[in-house]
């Protein structure tokens, strides 16, 4: 589904990714772990097309198409979802309005008919309910006044509504208490653990992986994947630290 080959990327003039190669197949959940500054968030931003993140070498294909040639909104329509480490507050724009516009823009891009207000609300209510978010919150401006945990939960509600083929979740577990971690973990399994979908979990800690069992764990250090293993690698990392393993 996603094939990253020898990816080099700069932020400003600074090289961050230095030859990263990674392949995700449908039905797989991959976790990327690594020390601060290794390039984990940069990878998420490069894949989703954030301005200022410049690819200098290498390629990324998504379902056989050149991902890097697409604009951010086209990547979303193609089925890519980035769960933000720091979800952005957008004053004045309600969640409902934002998500309906986003979903229908994606559908239009794919040549599908837009959802009516009623159809959309049905989907939104289901997804919000499954993640324990009430409809009043969905009517509030996007992430404004939300706690850290509510913002992350809101990312999962969005993921449920948009229903992407590939989710890149950037530290979705940071800032969550134990209960919220479980809710979010359940959300990821319910929405994304399917034979035709894939997930790239970017995380610092093993704890999310107790809920979302990865098929592969990669260590990202200094802009490259330095080690790949199964779920047990995360436990090893937790025990021994990155220093031992990344070298």
């Amino acid at each position: 589904m996603l094939q990253i080959t020898n990816l080099h990327a700069n932020v400003g003039d600074k090289p961050i990714l230095k030859g990263l190669t990674l392949s995700l197949n449908a039905g797989e959940i991959h976790a990327i772990m690594g020390p601060n500054g290794a390039g984990k968030s940069t990878l998420g931003y490069v894949l989703s097309g954030r301005p200022g993140y410049e690819v200098t070498e290498g390629s990324v294909t998504f379902n056989g198409n050149d991902l890097l040639a697409l604009e951010p909104h086209e990547r979303a329509a193609a089925g890519l979802f980035l769960g933000f480490q720091y979800p952005v507050e957008i004053p004045g724009v309600s969640n409902v309005q934002f998500l309906r516009e986003a979903l229908n823009a994606q559908r239009k891009n794919r040549g599908e008919a837009p959802l009516s207000g009623a159809e959309f609300l049905k989907v939104a209510r289901e997804q919000a309910g499954a993640l324990g978010m009430d409809m009043d919150m969905l009517k509030r401006p996007v992430n404004v006044g939300f706690s850290g945990g509510e913002k992350k939960r809101n990312e999962m509600v969005q993921m449920g509504i948009i229903n992407p083929a590939l989710a890149i979740l950037d530290e979705t577990d940071s800032g969550l208490d134990i209960d919220a971690l479980r809710t979010v973990g359940d959300g990821i399994n319910r929405i994304m653990r399917k034979p035709d979908k894939a997930v790239l979990l970017i995380t610092h800690y093993q704890r999310l992986l107790d809920y979302v069992k990865p098929d592969f764990v990669h260590v990202l250090a200094d802009g490259r994947i330095t080690r790949t293993g199964g779920a047990e690698l995360a436990l090893e990392l937790e025990r021994d630290g990155y220093k031992e393993l990344a070298a």
């Binding site: 909104h73 979800p87 952005v88 957008i90 934002f98 998500l99 891009n109 948009i162």
Partner: protein, 242 residues
């Protein structure tokens, strides 16, 4: 008899398109409105043809006035309000100006609290692209006896291009000593991270900008009799700029 046309040395005209003003000179006398004691007055001004609107409004004891302005059209558009508030009167202004290309748009207000206990609130939002100039000069004058005045000015401008200009000057002249006069002023550009967030969810760049700008001007026309017309016209104009 009309005096000669203003120049840049006149404070109230310092950012104006002087050649357009000269071409329009002499102006007709300002429209004069007297709102009787206890009365209610409302007016919508849609400036969409490049013209100069001047209104003098005296708001009587306990009376209210609500003015809604959408300043969007022509090369040069000016809306000038001279408001005088008598005891316990209330004045509300909700104004949006949206300009692109080489447009020069301005809203000039003088709100005089002549007597005690009057309230005034001015909300002005400008969205400017290209080399457009948007100006708000707003003076609140509180007379010596006008105790318990309560006045608010909220002025914000959004620049879509670095080449656009916003001038904002909330100005207070207070001679009473027991008053509340709040004023806030901010000039900025669209939040890049917010735009990326919207795009990462599938919204095309122009639509993402439009959505954020819609939020920026939202609420200004709340309560206007022509709220829908004003909102539609504002959105249409925003759509042309993004």
């Amino acid at each position: 008899m009309n005096r000669s046309a203003p120049t840049r040395h006149d404070e109230a005209w310092r950012y104006s398109d002087i050649s357009a003003v000269e071409a329009a000179w002499p102006l007709a006398a300002p429209e004069s409105i007297i709102v009787p004691a206890g009365g209610n007055f409302a007016r919508t001004i849609l400036q969409d043809a490049g013209s100069i609107h001047q209104l003098d409004i005296a708001i009587g004891k306990g009376a209210t006035t609500a003015i809604h302005v959408l300043n969007i059209g022509g090369d040069y558009g000016r809306v000038e309000l001279n408001i005088t508030l008598h005891e316990g009167a209330d004045f509300k202004l909700g104004a949006v100006q949206i300009g692109g290309g080489t447009q020069n748009l301005e809203i000039i207000t003088t709100v005089t609290h002549a007597e005690p206990k009057a309230t005034s609130s001015q909300i002005v939002r400008s969205v400017l692209a290209g080399t457009a100039i948007g100006t708000y000069l707003g003076k609140v004058a509180v007379a010596r006896d006008a105790q318990l005045t309560d006045s608010v000015q909220s002025v914000k401008a959004m620049l879509l291009d670095r080449s656009a200009t916003a001038n904002a000057k909330p100005e207070l002249e207070i001679y009473a000593d027991d008053v509340k006069c709040a004023h806030g002023c901010a000039i900025g550009e669209l939040d890049a991270m917010g735009l990326f967030y919207l795009q990462a969810r599938g919204i095309a760049p122009a639509d993402a900008k439009k959505l954020m700008l819609q939020a920026f001007v939202a609420g200004v026309f709340d309560g206007a009799a022509d709220e829908e017309m004003l909102t539609d016209a504002a959105l249409k104009k925003l759509g042309e700029l993004v």
